[in-house]
Amino acid sequence: MAEIQEIKDSGDVFTTLTPAYDIQRAATPDRVKESGYYGLPILKRPFWKWEIAMYFFFEGISAGSYVLCTVAGLRDRMQFDESIRRGRYLSFVSMLFCPPLLIADLGRPERFHHMLRIFKKTSPMNHGAWALTGYGIFASTLAVLAWPAKALPSTILRVLLRAFQWIMPERLLSVLGMPFALTMISYPGVLLSTTANPVWSHTNFLGPLFASSSLSNGAAALALINYGSKDHALHSALTRFEDLSSAGELTSLALYVGTAGEATKPLFKGKQSTLFMVGAFGIGLIVPAILRRSRSRILRHGVAPLLTLLGGVALKWSITYAGQESAPDAGLASKNAPSKTGEPFWGPAQPATSYPPPR
């Protein structure tokens, strides 16, 4: 397998033009004997990097906390009133990070609205663009509805805000926003899975993994911003939800590694391995699960959720970047689609070792 070094040389104009230049430079005489075509990659490396990893993180917090606040609001509006208010601000503020990150990632940022030209059944990114648009409207409106009118500086604004809050049915709106929020939670893993990149695609469980991580991050962020609150019902609900979502995350993780098998190699070996094993698994899942059982309030409602959030970044970052190392693996890229027989779709399974002499 060819190791592809990224080349950024301002003195060489060609490195500023095509991303395939790195692949060209990886073709060297000492690779003559390597398997496949001189050990060169079949696939191109993904362009999705830190912007996308951080987007997955922020949208997870935002949509995750939105869902939990909506559920809490439907169960007992009075009890959780103050926590829901803070939760709505949290969903709104973390949602604000999303569009800039996505737009910055584009090759042509000024054309970001082209995502909304069409609705496309087969494109998860298109679904995501629509979901974020819809979700953004609901998250913003609910943040405005949660804002205390008396905090506004002028009388006219106060009256206008009160009238708006009186007209808008808050609970109905929060429920109407749920399909968008649940799509925001569910689609990122699917976006990565429906590609040709082996570490992302050789599984059906990246979606559940990202979804449970997002919900767990939402709960952790809610616990943190309500740290000072004396609302025991909220804290106990969030702690128990953390246990559930972590169990979901662990199960998805096991199923992911189990089904993708060899393709998950970049997560256990190479640049992302420490971040994945220590960060996402150890610090993000195991340590908080222990701390949640501690008697200390700081450890239970402060440190544990903080570590869960760090684990969320580590998980999404390491899996996004694992795509960089998985793409050049020509062996996996060649046997990319599942097959019961293991036979190639076309042609012989093995390279020819001998060939008849010409007649």
Partner: protein, 284 residues
């Protein structure tokens, strides 16, 4: 800037914005066209590479010497739409060598993953059934780059958009043969109607088999596994990976439903569970 200028600019911006959603009537569909690349007659002259670069005004890729074969182009990319692979093989028993040469190109898949994942609709099948990037629509999201199982399409670092073989759409519109096929001195690259090319290719394989070249086969002439047929398909003589083609290309959209099902099941189950957890003091 005067108020007049501002209003003119605003009108310009608004009309540009409106253009995004206006879709003119597409041309009437015609019979599908494609390439049949017969690698047994390829002599590795790279005339196709040169003709492609010239006609499509593609920039150079640098002065690169691989030292592992006559192939210094190495891979298809945003700026290289035809690439000739050179495979040198030696039989240790007979001490004979053979040389496999293949002019690689975009496969113009009948169900193309790049088209399926493209969120803007920039990637389309044009009236000739060719996979085509509409450069005025593409916003460089790079989803097609990870979608393509052949590593064909890539995003240009300088202009930020995805580029690949257009199957010389501009030449086809004027009734001309694509530049690579036109320049090919041995007719290794054949351009034409896909239905006719498939007939021709089958006959060619039979002919080769009759001559004792029993390893000849068609790569992509028909759908197989989860993958569709390719409108630009190949006659090969060895395992696909030898030519840097995937043995089993992955079609992303074939896995979409199941992925969504599992993902939504997880998020809805956790949400439903949270309903049981959030209960106020007055619920006991």
């Amino acid at each position: 800037m005067s108020t007049n200028h501002v209003s003119v600019n605003l009108v310009q911006i608004l009309s540009d914005l409106q253009d995004t959603w206006i879709r003119p009537q597409p041309p009437e569909p015609e019979e599908e066209t494609g390439f049949f690349t017969d690698t047994t007659v390829c002599i590795g002259c790279k005339a196709c590479e040169v003709a492609c670069k010239q006609w499509n005004q593609l920039p150079a890729d640098g002065f690169n010497w691989t030292g592992n074969s006559y192939d210094n182009t190495v891979a298809l990319s945003d700026t290289t739409w035809r690439h000739v692979a050179f495979v040198e093989q030696f039989d240790s028993e007979s001490h004979l060598g053979r040389w496999l040469m293949m002019s690689d190109v975009c496969k113009h898949c009948q169900h193309a993953p790049c088209v399926e994942v493209c969120p803007t609709g920039a990637l389309i099948y044009n009236e000739f059934g060719n996979v085509y990037v509409q450069q005025d629509v593409c916003n460089g999201c790079a989803n097609c780059v990870v979608g393509c199982p052949f590593g064909v399409i890539s995003r240009n670092k300088a202009d930020g958009r995805a580029h690949k073989c257009t199957l010389c759409y501009d030449r086809q519109k004027d009734g001309l043969v694509p530049a690579c096929a036109k320049s090919c001195p041995t007719e290794s690259i054949k351009f034409g109607k896909v239905s006719e090319l498939r007939e021709h290719a089958k006959k060619r394989v039979e002919e080769l088999h009759a001559r004792g070249e029993t390893d000849a086969y068609l790569y992509g002439a028909e759908a197989s596994g989860e993958y569709s047929a390719l409108n630009s398909f190949f006659l090969l003589k060895d395992n696909a990976a030898v030519y840097n083609l995937p043995e089993r290309p992955r079609r992303a959209a074939a896995h979409l439903k199941r992925n969504y099902l599992f993902s939504f099941a997880a998020s809805i189950a956790l949400t439903a569970a949270s309903v049981l957890l959030f209960k106020g003091d007055n619920h006991g």
